[in-house]
Subunit: 317 residues, 2 copies
């Protein structure tokens, strides 16, 4: 069994290959060809922490993956990151453990941001006037970075709650080659941008229906657990097309769950990303459509990116 | 994060300490003080394999454990063991992965056999005339080895299906200091022994009710999944005391499940091992009682033995 640290993984992972594997994974998931046992979850109330264990096997693959993710929200006061974790790659042919990817959660961030890139390829407007970003954290950064491969637009407007965080994000995005505006008003993002990424841990709507420009696409990645919400449910209900990574997950606790539970949309109208990627459902159909993607994260993404990293690391040895 | 292989783990694990931790774990489990998420299971039909992921946290402990176990039943033809696996020890204080115990399933064998020792301490007759063993595999060996700490009896009679396997077991048990008899008739075991270990993958009853001597104790560890069975359900129904590691597991798929499902015993009459160890229920009450222990294996055992191994390994560094 080989052990690889975050640095080695980051050095060898090929993002384009990973994107292609993720797309295959979404298609297989929506075709019912992925074994995904129920998520295991722990709550460590005494330490304000939690842990979840997600596992997946894409049938036919000769490896499967077990991912352990932890979140301990008092860690920053101890000088530690809030999030940690690892992925195990095991043989689906003989059961032997093949690799421990001690990525500290990095591969999860990457597969989440690459899902945003995949979604943008099928739903973003042809002409992006500005990219809008809600949030200033690591996922808000990776999403922007990865969108460079999808659009030539180099205008970005970013919203955050703190001037200091916005200033840091400004420097980050400028170094990527963007012209950067920052704002403390979410409405300014909606007015300027027609490709918007929501990557916050918000528990209340940040973007309102009436603010949106026609033809805008929104990718919401923040609502990955019950109680989280970034969008006005009326905005969700007003979207012309809603694409989700997983209908069961998104209708239960994703961004669209609030509108589903309020009866404002019917989950039968949701379309899984895998069904768009395999051509059985359309992506964006015309430039005036408002489109929304809700990404809660599915375990097949972990299996696919772990497999991709493992092969790259093996090849480098 | 530290990585330890099977050899290092076996070198440093203290069996008496492990036994004490397991007893604590059973008591905590039965007191509802253990978080045990549902088991994750994969089926790899193309390779005649399976995998299960068991996780547990004993509340108050500063570590928790995730165990991955694989069984690939065509492996021996490939020159590999059927079973493999590992345990991860993580901090319940900050979420960081602390250790990978690459034990290849060894700790699972040990914690299972130590549970047999714990059970024997509370249920075995005071005077053991002979130990009976059904099965000749690695668990049938460990169980016998660990019973040496519980009884001074050094007579053993072992049943198996093959003369070759019995011959190997004979040599193994003799080297442990036992006078050994082997037999191809399970009835001979019941007639000679009053402390019997059943450690086979049988799917049909091997021991019948009418064969048993008064005062016999039986520990059944083979039935760890649906469809497995080592005992006549009438024997189960005739036992004066039945102790199980987990009422939910044993009544669903353990040795006693057959009698429960047939209505021959009521699961309300089952007593968990933790409730005997903490003194709230009696163990053996007199020498004529027939007692039965059904051990399906609970994840808290993994958490406790992994913690024990981890501390021993840390201390050795």
């Amino acid at each position: 069994m080989k052990v690889f640290n975050r640095q080695a993984i980051a050095q060898h992972l090929d993002l384009d290959d990973a994107e292609a594997r993720l797309a295959q994974g979404f298609m297989a998931y929506s075709a019912g060809k992925v074994q995904v046992p129920p998520v295991q979850a722990f709550s460590f109330a005494q330490a304000n922490g939690d842990c979840c264990i997600k596992s997946a096997w894409l049938e036919g693959s000769d490896t499967f993956t077990v991912k352990v993710s932890t979140g301990f929200y008092d860690n920053p006061a101890l000088g530690l990151d809030s999030n940690d974790g690892l992925m195990l790659v095991l043989s689906a042919c003989n059961g032997q453990p093949l690799a421990l990817l001690a990525d500290q959660g990095w591969l999860t961030s990457v597969r989440t941001a690459l899902a945003g890139r995949i979604v943008a390829r099928v739903l973003a407007p042809a002409r992006v006037e500005a990219i809008g970003v809600l949030g200033t954290g690591s996922q808000a950064r990776l999403q922007l970075e990865y969108l460079k491969a999808v659009t030539e637009c180099r205008e970005v407007i970013v919203w955050g709650r703190s001037e200091a965080a916005l200033s840091d994000y400004h420097d980050f995005a400028e170094a990527l080659g963007f012209n950067v505006r920052t704002t403390l008003e979410p409405q300014a993002v909606a007015q300027a941008a027609n490709l918007i990424i929501c990557a916050t841990p918000s528990r209340e709507p940040l973007l309102m229906r009436d603010w949106l420009r026609p033809g805008t696409h929104i990718t919401a990645v923040g609502a990955d657990a019950s109680g989280k919400q970034e969008l006005d449910p009326w905005l969700v209900a007003a979207a012309d097309r809603i694409v989700v990574d997983s209908i069961p997950q998104c209708s239960q606790y994703g961004e669209v769950s609030h509108a589903v539970k309020a009866g404002m949309i019917d989950w039968l109208g949701l379309v899984e990303l895998g069904r768009v990627l395999d051509g059985s459902n359309p992506g964006r159909e015309h430039e005036a459509q408002i489109t929304l993607a809700d990404l809660t994260g599915v375990a097949v993404q972990d299996a696919q990116i772990a497999r991709c990293a493992y092969e790259a690391l093996l090849g480098s040895n």
